[in-house]
Amino acid sequence: MSGIPTITGTALPSNAPGHQTGWLAQLDPRARILCAVGFAVTVVTCDSFGTLVAAVAIALALLVASRLPPRQTLRRMVAMDSFILFMLILLPFTVPGEPILTIWGISASWEGLAQATRIALKANAVILALMALVGTMEPVVLGHALHSLRVPAGLVHLLMFTVRYIEVLRQEYMRLRLAMKARGFRPSTCWHTYRSVGYLLGMMLVRSVERSERIMDAMKCRGFTGHIPLMKRFCLSQNDIVFAALFSLLIVTLLVGEALHAAV
């Protein structure tokens, strides 16, 4: 079990030239962020199965439009934290109600199963829509868009620096891991492994702080006076407005469907 394969696949995505993008990726980033948030808030408040299935369908349609690699994205969508997965599996057994089956004297209820399914549908619809709408952005563009959505400058700059140095540090980590492997390191459940990985992370922290000192020097050399400019300006096009309007309509439809269902 080596840490390398698990980490090589997880670079932040790039929209480098030549990267295939759909019409969704051409839309204004701010519109996409607001749509994703609106969709998430709506879906979370809905409870009827019909609405939730419709929400998943919308999310899948967005996935197609986003041109994200479908298999990899769907795998990410269902890969929930083991913690939360465990909760979902236990829900049928902890929610009281009409029993489906009984294991070791504990009975699983339909109500519990329904609740677990609802959570799974909501979680997946939201995360899929988020990845399709926002995850297709260059991370730097996400920062610029958040800035023009009035997110505090400190937070945006923090995001920008984080995005800037993730790849540099990931490369450093992988080179160090490779060198450890070359010296016969094979991770296992033992003190030697944990100490070595701990040293590795500690060393990366130390080097990071020293790098940040050099970055600060570079900033001073260019007359840094306590202000970092951000220059990107967005402007809404007709397409963005049409998309936002249609998407809002979709959200309202979901809410109406939910209300009708509740009224029945």
Binding site: S14, A16, E138, V140, G143, H144, M160, F161, V163, R164, Y165, E167, V168, R211, R214, I215, D217, A218, M219, K220, C221, R222, G223, F224, T225, H227, I228, P229, L230, M231, K232
Partner: protein, 227 residues
Amino acid sequence: MPLFELSDIHFGYPHRPPILAGADMVLDAGERVCVTGHNGAGKSTLLRIMVGLLRPTGGTVAAFGQSRREEADFHDVRRRAGLVFQDPDDQLFCPTVAEDIAFGPLNLGASRASAIEIVDSVLTRLDLMHLRDRVTHRLSGGEKRLVTLATVLAMEPDVLLLDEPTNALDEENEARLVEVLDALPQAMVIVSHDPHFRRRLGTRSLRLKEGILTQPAPPKCRNASVP
């Protein structure tokens, strides 16, 4: 009046043996001084002292006709002497190339519009307009190096201080860089391990050894092998 005049510079990092022990250097207008020396000799340290990022424990730094002592004295020096760092990843900290190049001019008080004009003119001059809106951390090593040069040129310095500029470059990009630098009018201090690069650009060479800058023997083949 020389652009830079370092006399009897002493320096050591805390809890370390001294690195510079009486280094002297004079840089005149139009000169391109190459500095060599083995790894850890203190070449990068010397450049940092020149722009006041480190303060020497002894000796004096004079720049552009004035003695420089305090942090405030060096603000002006940093504007007029552009330092290109050894590792481009330390220097390109803004999200996009255009923002990185505009960072300096904006700090010097340029308006947004004129900063954008400077960005475009510098990129055009270096024939890098295709990189304008690229994300800095996705550039190749050679592209990063050329962009760091652009970020410094955008401040229109009188002197360039280049720390191992050919480090991450393949032959093609190196040839590009030589051409670009050769066309620039600025005086330069160039730290480089590459004898051919030095020979192509430098007007004279200094060797940093045991904390002192000396005129090396005229280059022979043996010099070419300095690692």
